[in-house]
């Protein structure tokens, strides 16, 4: 099977739920190219409002693709300072431009030590490939 090549920018961090994290004073969070491809065409996106304090691994939004509904889990703890309302109104942006216009939210990290728990691009690439192999091995013929 021909696999689509997935972009993994070098200057971002990643977590195992397929979120990218751009770390500066604040952190910007989005879904990776592989993540959006895995989820499929995104129909709806709902993020918790700015001002919400979330802990790492906690729900900070919901997403629907086709009939799949899942929770978005925060890769780091902190206070959400802005959500991408354009992407909420047009979630296809996340599929079309996951590292650009399809960003999800900005968060003020509460504990910078959590950044150390994230993966760099090389580690995420290995993690992604491992999962692609697992998917191919376990495939029951379900192909989007």
């Amino acid at each position: 099977m021909q696999r689509e090549k997935r972009a993994i920018p070098d200057d971002l961090f990643y977590d195992r739920n397929d979120f990218w994290i751009k770390v500066a004073e604040e952190a910007v969070i989005g879904l990776t190219d592989y993540g959006q491809g895995n989820i499929g065409d995104i129909l709806y996106l709902e993020l918790v409002p700015a001002g919400t304090v979330v802990r790492r691994g906690e729900r900070c939004g919901s997403i629907e693709s086709g009939k799949w509904v899942g929770s978005l889990l925060a890769p780091v703890s902190g206070m959400i300072v802005e959500t991408n309302r354009d992407a909420e109104a047009d979630p296809h942006m996340v599929n079309a431009d996951p590292f650009g216009r399809g960003w999800l939210y900005r968060i003020e990290p509460a504990d910078r030590n959590e950044i150390g728990l994230l993966m760099d691009s090389g580690a995420y690439q290995a993690w992604m490939e491992e999962r692609i192999c697992l998917e191919e091995k376990n495939s029951q013929g379900w192909i989007d």
């Binding site: 910007v28 129909l43 709806y44 996106l45 509904v69 929770s71």
Partner: protein, 374 residues
């Protein structure tokens, strides 16, 4: 491996939905065992998908006047009516760490296989259709959805039409029809089917549960142990019911993605084609293809189903339509694919134009449109 089998009947909308979500959360956290729940709702209730808007999907005035509760599912997809003749199937299983999206897709294959095997034992030639339907000869029999709880627990849900009062459904749900005549009724009846219609028998819900439970036992290679909710689970369900499913802010919430409708009529040598499209953002949510041309209802239903939850990009729409035409063009009885493509694309374009104000401001100060990433 042992799973629990929980059977309950006549549940309220709020209890039924809270039980599914609460179990998914508990199973994901390891607090409850994987559970197959086969249940029915008190006749009748209207359940909309996770991100739908009540006013778009349901005739709320009719529901209020007829004591039909409206609620919102944790799973996605379209609005349905549920009651004593529609079997709810809820399977709750633990996720597999972070790898839950692909795991869920694998399990969805097995989940649909459990349902299909059960139906096959009744002689119903059911098959799974992407993304989440089970159909018989192109007619929808089961709608399915998947929800992942924050704990990682997975809920696979299906609503199986053992029987259906189509007239009631059309009174409860908003439809693309301007009026509800016998013709519209027949059109809907041509797109969906029921177990009783397919088997030609008055099969009971209890009989149905037996074959579906056997289907799951064989598809997943598990033993199903009859059980009931524990006291702790009932307390969790009651709490979630109070905090979420009995609250108007859950049921009547709105989404930032507006529904957009468009229609197009095209005269062709083989007759008039009348297409109505509903889009959620840039994805096709529903398509109705009517008119006065002659074609097999199965072929038209197949075409509509293939476009549901499909991208609205014109060239991809054309590919999807051509794919259906390959091998079954005779069933379209002289209607050429190019006319259907034109009509669907035109309806999509009109839906896009319906609510597409020009953006007057940039995307925000943190994003550089066209740049590689923020």
């Amino acid at each position: 491996m042992d799973w629990r089998l929980v059977v309950d009947d006549g549940v309220t909308a709020s209890f039924g939905l809270a039980a599914d979500e609460a179990l998914a959360a508990r199973v994901g956290a390891g607090a409850s065992l994987p559970t197959l729940r086969l249940y029915t709702y008190q006749s009748h209730c209207a359940l909309i998908g996770r991100f739908q808007t009540v006013e778009n999907e349901v005739r709320a005035d009719y529901c209020k006047a007829n004591n039909i509760p409206i609620n919102r599912r944790p799973t996605g997809g379209g609005a349905i009516i549920m009651g004593a003749d529609q079997l709810g199937v809820a399977l709750t299983m633990p996720g597999r760490g972070e790898d839950t999206y692909s795991h869920a897709r694998e399990l969805m294959g097995l989940f649909s296989e459990g349902l299909v095997r059960g139906l096959n034992t009744l002689g119903v030639e059911a098959r799974f259709r992407r993304k989440n339907d089970i159909e018989v000869n192109g007619k929808k029999l089961v709608g399915m959805g998947v929800y992942r709880a924050p704990s990682g627990g997975l809920l696979f849900h299906a609503s199986m039409l053992v029987d259906l009062d189509i007239a009631l459904m059309l009174r409860v749900l908003n439809t693309p029809f301007e009026k509800l005549s016998d013709k519209e009724m027949d059109t809907v009846a041509g797109r969906i089917t029921t177990v009783r219609r397919e088997t030609g028998s008055p099969i009971t819900l209890d009989e149905m549960r037996l074959v579906i439970a056997d289907g799951f036992g064989s598809a997943f290679d598990v033993n199903l142990i009859s059980s009931d909710f524990t006291a702790e689970e009932r307390a969790g369900i009651a709490k979630l019911e109070q905090e979420k499913y009995l609250r108007e802010d859950w049921v009547y919430q709105t989404t930032a993605v507006p529904d957009r409708n468009g229609s197009a009529k095209i005269k062709t040598p083989a007759g008039l084609i009348d297409v109505r499209v509903t889009m959620a953002g840039s994805i096709i949510k529903a398509v109705f293809i009517g008119g006065d041309f002659f074609a097999s209802e199965n072929a038209v239903a197949d075409l509509e189903a293939s476009l549901r939850w499909h991208t609205s990009q014109p060239e991809k729409v054309a590919v999807a339509i051509e794919k259906i035409f390959q091998g079954r063009s005779a069933e379209f009885n002289g209607i050429q694919s190019k006319f259907l493509i034109e009509a669907v694309q035109k309806a999509i374009a009109r839906a896009r134009a319906a609510e597409n104000p020009m953006r007057a401001e940039p995307y925000g100060c943190y994003v550089n449109p066209g740049g590689p990433y923020v």
